[in-house]
């Protein structure tokens, strides 16, 4: 039986945040994930709580992005149940920057502002408080000086940090980052991992990121979830694999 639900309920899901801090933000039970009825990962059981830095490690094509897309509601689950204890608008999603189309003429600040689109009415200009928030998140990722630059002219690491700023603009409870460290130089990698650690410790955010580099995940993450050959298991840490 397929089951996917928001704990808050449908009507007010986007307005309200988490009700009960002891509940996991996301919970998957015996979930099968895949495309066109063909499972890629089977029998996934996982719970994500606030304040953890969880790394998802696995080779390319093992189903990391599939799992993320299912958690974000972008991909229907094939079997099992998935519940979220916060609305979808409280998910800060950082896609791989290569997945974004460089045809679009966008400045870095325009990309960051997109995180506020869920709160701003169509007919409104960006309110001053959102502009302040934009400055704040750009400071957080350490790139306020690049706000006016073309987003696609930035380096790989700078683009990733801008996308993290966009995810922070959402005011998230949980951040999901798809391969945030791939194609990034060592210096940017360090600044991104430091940023992710700060977000979990100071902001109590749950941060769930993926990488095909197991060694790097072991260095950075508090908890490590492995995915390979259609199976998912917890290697170590606080994230809980559900029975």
């Amino acid at each position: 039986m397929k089951l996917e639900r928001d704990v808050d309920g449908k009507k007010s899901a986007r307005e309200r945040g988490s009700k009960d801090e002891s509940l996991p933000l996301v919970s998957l039970q015996n979930v099968d994930l895949g495309y066109d009825s063909t499972p890629v990962v089977r029998n996934v059981s996982l719970a994500i709580y606030p304040g953890g830095l969880i790394g998802l490690a696995g080779p390319n094509g093992s189903g990391k992005t599939t799992l993320f897309r299912a958690i974000l509601g972008l991909l229907p689950i094939l079997d099992g149940s998935l519940s979220r204890n916060c609305p979808l608008s409280a998910f800060g999603y950082v896609p791989q920057s290569a997945a974004l189309d460089s045809q679009f003429p966008l400045s870095a600040s325009e990309v960051v502002e997109m995180g506020a689109y869920g709160r701003v009415h169509s007919y409104q200009f960006l309110p001053p408080e959102e502009k302040d928030r934009r400055t704040e998140v750009l400071d957080q990722v350490g790139l306020p000086h690049l706000a006016r630059r073309s987003f696609f002219s930035l380096s790989g690491g700078q683009k990733q940090r801008m996308l993290i700023a966009r995810a922070l603009m959402v005011n998230p409870k949980i951040m999901i980052l798809d391969e945030p460290l791939s194609g990034v130089d060592e210096e940017s990698r360090k600044s991104i991992t430091d940023l992710l650690r700060n977000l979990t410790r100071e902001k109590e955010l749950a941060v769930f990121f993926s990488s095909h580099d197991l060694e790097m995940v072991q260095r950075v993450a508090d908890s490590i979830v492995r995915v390979d050959k259609g199976k998912l298991w917890l290697e170590e840490g606080k994230a809980r694999l559900q029975p």
């Binding site: 972008l74 998910f91 896609p95 045809q103 679009f104 966008l106 325009e110 997109m114 995180g115 169509s122």
Partner: protein, 481 residues
Amino acid sequence: MSTLFEIVRPSYLLFPALIGTLIMGLVCPLVGSYLVLRRTVFLGLTLPEIAAAGVAFTFWLQELGLLPQLGQSERGLAMLGSLVFTFLGMGLLGYLEQRSKGLAEGRLAVAYAFAGGLTILFMVFNPAGQIEVLNLLRGEVIALSRGELQLLAVVFGAVFLTMLIFRREFLLTSFDRDLAFLLKGHQVIWDVLLYLLAGLLIALGVIMAGPLLIFGFLVLPALAARPLVNRMSSFLILASVFGMVMAFFGFYSSVRLDLPLGPTDVTVGCCLIFLAYGVRRLSVKSVAATVLVLFATAFITCCSMVTPSTPVPEAKAVRSDRVWLAKVKNSTGLPLLLPSTNPLRSAGEMIGKVSSDYRQNVMDLLRDNLRQELQQSGYRVTLPEDTDARFPPFPADTNAALQLGRDGKLSGLVFVSEIWRWEGYPQQFVRVFVDFKLVRLEDGAVLWDRRVQRAVPTPSSTHLGQAYTDAIRAVVHEIFG
């Protein structure tokens, strides 16, 4: 320069057409920008072709008697067909997009070819309405009436406002569908709305301006703006500005050089793209200097092109009272026959007094009028064919006219006329482009010449024949002062 000032006057005959193209130039690039950014440019080519098939299909149904004959409202009927086919086509393409695994470009290519084929077949099925369909598909925006302009302003205004209000939703859905889903829920509504707006612009635009011009307005300004900006807001504004520049300079060039509006606009749009890529390589100072030089050159050229218009000189002023009035040369490639609505002529044809094979044309009528006016100016008018029936019409080219006159052993003055363009829109105007010359055969001196190139208003004409007759009178009156 006088043309430039003339076309921006509200009293100018083609002013509604100018405003119409400016509105299209403002609004179409806003929607077209998203087609370009979403890499669905071919949709902008395929949908107008589907709309054209709808127009041809509607007229075929009318020919079969399945739709009523609406007389003057044929544009309304065409618009209905265009709208229905555009939205059906979009619906089908959208359905296939969801279901099919094939290439999007492939689907659009098949739809384009299919629609193009259907358009021709529907016209073959309906030979009686072929000319009307072709005229509508050619989309002469130049013939835009004030009523049509109002409709255009309302529909395009609504699209403009919708694009402005929902700019964030359209951007987010186009750029990052996943984030759009997380923040705004199902994004399909924004896709549907965007394509609905594109369909509305195209369905209406194809009737008012033709498939080529509407495709040009959708994509060319956006492609020209893209290399020059790094912000989405600047991109949309610049695309609209380029659209209006394309509309205005295309219109001006079309009037000034007597070129068809659609292809002229599209050519200006393509020039803007080349210019944009060139400008991107230049520094700000170089760009400013280039723009200044271009404007100065344009100003000087326009001013120097203003020539005083003098009437045909009187016979005593040229010291000769005899003039050969050559047949008017028709270089339009069209027969320019005057449609007969005269019952006396029909009766004459029935009793055999008038040959039904002969039908008066613009050239004959113009020559009759010229003859009368020349005689009133004191000339003794003789016709070259009175001396030799083999005399053809004289071309406006002086050397060629001289050669013809000398070969025919003529002497004295010869009055030559050549029609380059003659297009009529009953109750509106006739676009004319005619060259006149008075040449002395002995020394080849051009004693007088005049080019009449404008839209001649014919508001009181109820049919094409009357419009042509009114226009001929106006042109002859103009050259004789």
